[in-house]
Assembly symmetry: C2
Homo-oligomer: 455 residues x 2
């Protein structure tokens, strides 16, 4: 890999203190590649490298660094160095970084930032986390509708160097209300004298500045846009969100889903850079809750204590009964949660159809596992037909309950407007454990009291 | 939502048999919106609507339909209707659909498709599933390097209507080897007389046609590209993969991860459209394997049968001991698996650093849960200090084992070149169950034999 080849070279150049060679190194590679090579270095050394290059390149490399590294760098820079960097950053990457800094650091910094950028920063910091406003960039290309195609292209040529993308050009009126959109492709193909007002698409798909980033990702994915415009409550254009941001959102949302499914509250950043305190709290709260359910399961099991000596064998199949219900349940729950999170807003989830299918699948799976359970009870433990049947029937029943509950509980949460991923696999498993113990001992007791005397 | 408003209108128009109105309906909306409105209709009715509109619009709407709906439609169309549709589809969407059809249907269809498209289809069908070749489009914009910027723009104007994107233009030599890339933005900004060879970027980031789609998504995400070129083993340009395909890949890969983590073999399509047979098999194989482990756990527990009457209380804390280890383990496993799947290729995973942290977090979580366990043993079950300590110590130990195993096993799988997501949460839970029972009964037996007599 590139960075493994280049890292030793870079170290040598650093040892020699050759600033010209460092600058050349920064300018030669794609900023994302330079950032990858710098990955293993400490903040002070990374800054020594970045300082040698032009501000423009420095900012691009800085933006390509991971957020934790950016964060480390912030604390090694002087206020002047930092403000120059922050001023030159693209608005969306800047907002992401500043949102992570404490308020005092930001307030300390702002007076050194140019007036226009400062206003932009203050506005962006007001939008709630994970809203469209917090991830958009304000560097979009816009024109008014009284231009011709050729004039529009001239305008774009002047705007281009500062804009995140010029492939979608937005048409706004004097109040900056969003009137239309035209792609650069259409502008290039159009007769130069044609007015933009004739060429533009007027029904612009846009998102509100307060909309959740996950919904934004859905919209962009649905239309395959390169960028989507963000408007305020007056339908004024305030920013755009580009395809690369969508990439980050999808990754982030899939991580959050996976974490919730595993009973971890969503982490601030990634797992690798999370602190002990954060991990302990975000895992601990769920583990504690689940432990309480497990203790309750034990208390429930004690209710059967009187009959228990008559079915001491039952404990050996407790792992199977608990695992079968829990596993079948978390399979269904995970499949359902991911399906719900892909579901387009406002489209009905075919819950009833899926319920029928889960019941059927549950019977098949439960039947197979029940046979395996009953078979091993008789083969490996030498249990009689009635005891073996108790194991088999219980497994059949818990697998069925598991598949149905794994489907219905996330759907129920979703209907209530709660994130269905909260109905995590461990929670389903805990509920299933409770039910499984009740059912297992109940069936065992009934069989022993009613059936054994008949046999 | 749009489609809820429009669906009743559409139904009425269908009842009236007004083809002109149907055509107007198709042409008025964005194809993705039309597809959403058609979602609930049966294949024959969808085709009645699509038949009324222009081929170009018909294809765009068809491509926006979900794959299962496309599949249903294929089986309601005549060979002639289908071949016209397939011929006009964009190469990547077409390859996705044809890959789903059985070979006979495809062979039946191909003679009706125009020669050029037919060759393209045959080539694309050769690439392995989930490879760059199977998802790329062959409709890219390319020029030779002997043009000026103005000439290049003229070329693009001619190519534009057929190309997936013209925002990245690839420069190829006579053998179609990839020499460079230039963005439309750069072309527009350049002095018209400047030669493309001076303007283009020569170090083009590209992917091989056989590369896995997940690695392609990583590359695109790293550089924030709108598209990435795909080359063959001779470095000849054979296609491009665009940002919207990356969106689909990310969703698909996140789903596969989630399914593996929940012990479901990755489904062909989505959960909603999966068949009973597929679900039963892809869930059943894992459930069976896990059931066997659970039965083995029971057999292991029987080894302690002789001492068991002396610690009959132990069974009431079995749910807690099993749940604590399993939950802590699946938390760590899920966090590790998702981190590994984000890891850039060739960058070392900081396993050792994470191991230290997991041990520490495991001690904190295990300590807390152990105290809760020991406390409830003494409070709710009236167990003595030694018995309560057995519960507490066991919980502490299994949580620690869980966190460490949940981290190390996926890393180990990854090092061996196996998908770490195969080290699923239920599998970790099953392993933890085995260890937990061994440890729990072992500690209990030891405590009762060695400590109780001393007390």
């Amino acid at each position: 890999m590139l960075h493994e080849l280049l890292a030793p070279d870079l170290r040598q150049t650093l040892d020699e203190g050759d600033d010209d060679a460092l600058r050349e190194f920064c300018e030669a590679l794609h900023p994302a590649d330079t950032a990858a090579v710098l990955y293993d270095l400490d903040a002070a050394t990374i800054w020594r490298v970045l300082k040698t290059c032009r501000l423009e390149t420095r900012v691009e490399i800085f933006e390509s660094l991971e957020l934790v590294t950016q964060f480390d760098l912030v604390h090694t820079l002087s206020r002047e160095e930092l403000s120059a960097l922050v001023e030159a950053m693209s608005p969306d990457d800047r907002a992401t970084l500043l949102n992570k800094l404490d308020d005092d650091t930001v307030e300390d910094l702002l007076p050194l930032v140019a007036q226009a950028e400062r206003a932009d920063i203050r506005r962006m910091l007001l939008y709630p986390e994970d809203s469209a406003g917090s991830i958009m960039t304000t560097d979009y290309a816009s024109i008014s509708d009284d231009l011709t195609a050729a004039q529009a292209l001239d305008h774009l040529r002047k705007q281009a160097p500062d804009k995140e993308t010029i492939y979608y050009v937005y048409i706004v009126d004097e109040q900056r209300r969003l009137d239309g959109v035209i792609t650069l492709r259409d502008l290039i193909l159009a007769r130069p004298t044609r007015p933009v007002s004739e060429l533009m698409t007027r029904d612009v798909v846009s998102v509100r500045v307060t909309e959740d980033q996950e919904d934004v990702a859905h919209e962009v994915g649905r239309y395959d846009f390169i960028a989507i415009p963000v408007v305020d409550e007056m339908h004024r254009l305030v920013g755009i969100i580009t395809h690369d941001d969508i990439h980050d959102i999808l990754r982030e949302e899939a991580d959050e889903d996976a974490q919730r499914i595993a009973a971890v509250e969503p982490l601030e950043d990634d797992y690798i850079s999370a602190g002990v305190r954060e991990l302990a709290l975000k895992r601990g709260r769920w583990l504690t809750f689940l432990a309480v359910v497990a203790i309750a399961t034990g208390i429930l099991a004690r209710a059967f204590e009187d009959g228990a000596e008559r079915f001491a064998w039952a404990v050996f199949f407790l792992p199977l009964v608990l695992a079968a219900g829990g596993n079948a349940g978390s399979q269904s729950a995970t499949l359902t949660i991911r399906s719900l999170s892909h579901q387009a807003k406002g489209r009905a989830f075919p819950g009833l159809k899926l319920l029928g299918r889960e019941v059927f699948v549950g019977l098949l799976l439960g039947g197979a596992l029940g046979l395996i359970g009953a078979g091993s009870a008789s083969l490996f433990f030498g249990l009689g037909p009635i005891e073996s049947a108790v194991v088999g029937v219980t497994v059949l029943a818990v697998v069925n309950f598991g598949t149905v509950i794994g489907l219905l509980l996330p759907i129920g949460f979703d209907r209530l407007g709660v994130d269905p991923a909260l109905m995590s696999s461990p929670l389903i498993t805990a509920i299933m454990d409770l039910m499984a113990v009740l059912l297992y001992y109940g069936v065992a007791l009934w069989a022993i009291e009613r059936l054994l005397p008949l046999a």
